[in-house]
Symmetry: C2
């Protein structure tokens, strides 16, 4: 289950620069027209970006419960009405069938297709869930002068399956997946202070220091993302990660489930600092 | 719709003193045995108390959405599995059919009965929602030296129907009901700082100063609770209030809906400061 986006088309990467200061509605229009199909990192800076999960209504209440019971990995920022593809609470004219650059379609837990529009797949019983992601708190950390190694080096953050269990709900369960950022202790303390303000973007860390305490045997071998570069004066700091609900969704093997393609998020109109 | 609890039995009030330092499980056992049927304020200090709403499953997803869309008035702290009266995420052996001192039963939006046990009414399609309340942030304000007039005078906090609309979900809609606490400006600022830490207990205020800006014509005439005593050097500070979902529930006129009787809350095992 690689989250490396080595196949991201070059035009999409170039688009990020031009799109950094664009209005979110303008970026979404370009996405809707198929002009942007890759990663959204760096686009419409200052606006909240979210992870996507679309499920049939018969699983929606259990997934709502799963998010409520596991707010750090699954911070719920928006839920559509059943069968309604619009998300007015997250922004103007958001049509979830077309406004995410790329979608992964899972059938019975297996990746069946990757598409740039799900209009043909949309059903009257679908419910769309949007979950907060770490982009916003990373923006806040950088703005406060807390360095983030993986951004400096242009790599993917290291992610690990921990031995912390989610609180199950219906068919949804599994371990909390964590992302790790190496920091000097003073920066780690400041990072706790800052991320406490962002409960809708995974909030404060779930652990810091000894990886063994949360069941991670070898930091050099992440389960997703790139291996980290940890310096002698740094400690690993672990946040709950949006891969957690993705993994729980796949493990539940619903008949159908549609997510964003990793890194290719929904850009909302909400300020990224919205708590 | 009076929230005055003039009819609260005296023994229950006396029980609060003895129950202040009791373990939450012990208080719930006494409630379950019918020894406590009144208000829970002041009991099991330091533990989160919650508002209750029980609905049939066909309305549960819309009510979940309503809470997600209106987190300040409706901070969702726990949701039961469908048909399951236990709430293990909120505490040990919590049976929602018996562990709240008094319940109001509404049929088609009208108060049909007030009972101390709902075992006979429980259905396989019921879902129980527990929402955070203001007790916990009031505890934190008092601990920080921010005075609360209605507690000093032993009255009910003043509550008003504002002109701020909730974001609707299915049959649930209506105005945000606010509670008002008069404060000197420096205390109001400190109160914002403190309540920011409690998003699960209504969080920061929704307004301060001119009541007219949120559609309140006369502070001396609250819609619920007691009239306030505001001094010359004080401003009114308004928080979203748990009466909001209660009013939305009644307005939706579900076939059946069961809530706690006002002031007679579920005492959880969670620390009251849990964000």
């Amino acid at each position: 289950m690689a989250l490396r986006e080595a196949d991201t088309p070059i035009p999409a990467v170039n688009a990020a620069g031009a799109m950094a200061t664009a209005e979110p509605a303008e970026v979404r229009r370009r996405i809707r027209r198929g002009e942007i199909s890759g990663q959204t990192g760096g686009m419409a800076l200052g606006r909240m970006q979210g992870n996507l999960a679309i499920l049939p209504a018969d699983l929606a209440q259990d997934f709502s419960r799963f998010c409520q019971r596991n707010p750090k990995p699954c911070p719920l920022v928006g839920v559509s009405d059943t069968g309604d593809p619009m998300l007015p609470t997250l922004g103007e004219d958001i049509d979830i069938r077309s406004d995410v650059p790329s979608y992964n379609v899972y059938r019975h837990g297996e990746l069946a297709d990757t598409v740039t529009d799900i209009g043909a797949l949309w059903r009257e019983d679908f419910v769309a869930f949007v979950l907060g992601c770490s982009f916003s708190f990373e923006e806040a950390l950088l703005a406060d002068g807390v360095p983030l190694r993986h951004i400096e080096t242009g790599e993917l953050v290291s992610m690990y399956r921990s031995n912390i269990d989610t609180v199950p709900a219906g068919p949804f369960s599994g371990p909390v997946v964590v992302s790790m950022r190496p920091m000097r202790p003073a920066d780690a303390i400041r990072a706790v202070e800052i991320t406490a303000r962002f409960p809708m973007m995974h909030g404060t860390p779930v652990h810091l220091g000894d990886p063994g305490q949360i069941g991670i045997a070898d930091l050099a071998r992440p389960d997703w993302g790139d291996p980290p570069d940890i310096r002698d004066d740094e400690i690993p700091v672990f946040w709950a990660c949006g891969v957690t609900p993705q993994a729980a969704l796949r493990a539940a093997k619903p008949e159908i489930c549609i997510t964003h393609k990793p890194g290719s998020m929904l850009i909302t109109d909400l300020p990224s600092g919205r708590a």
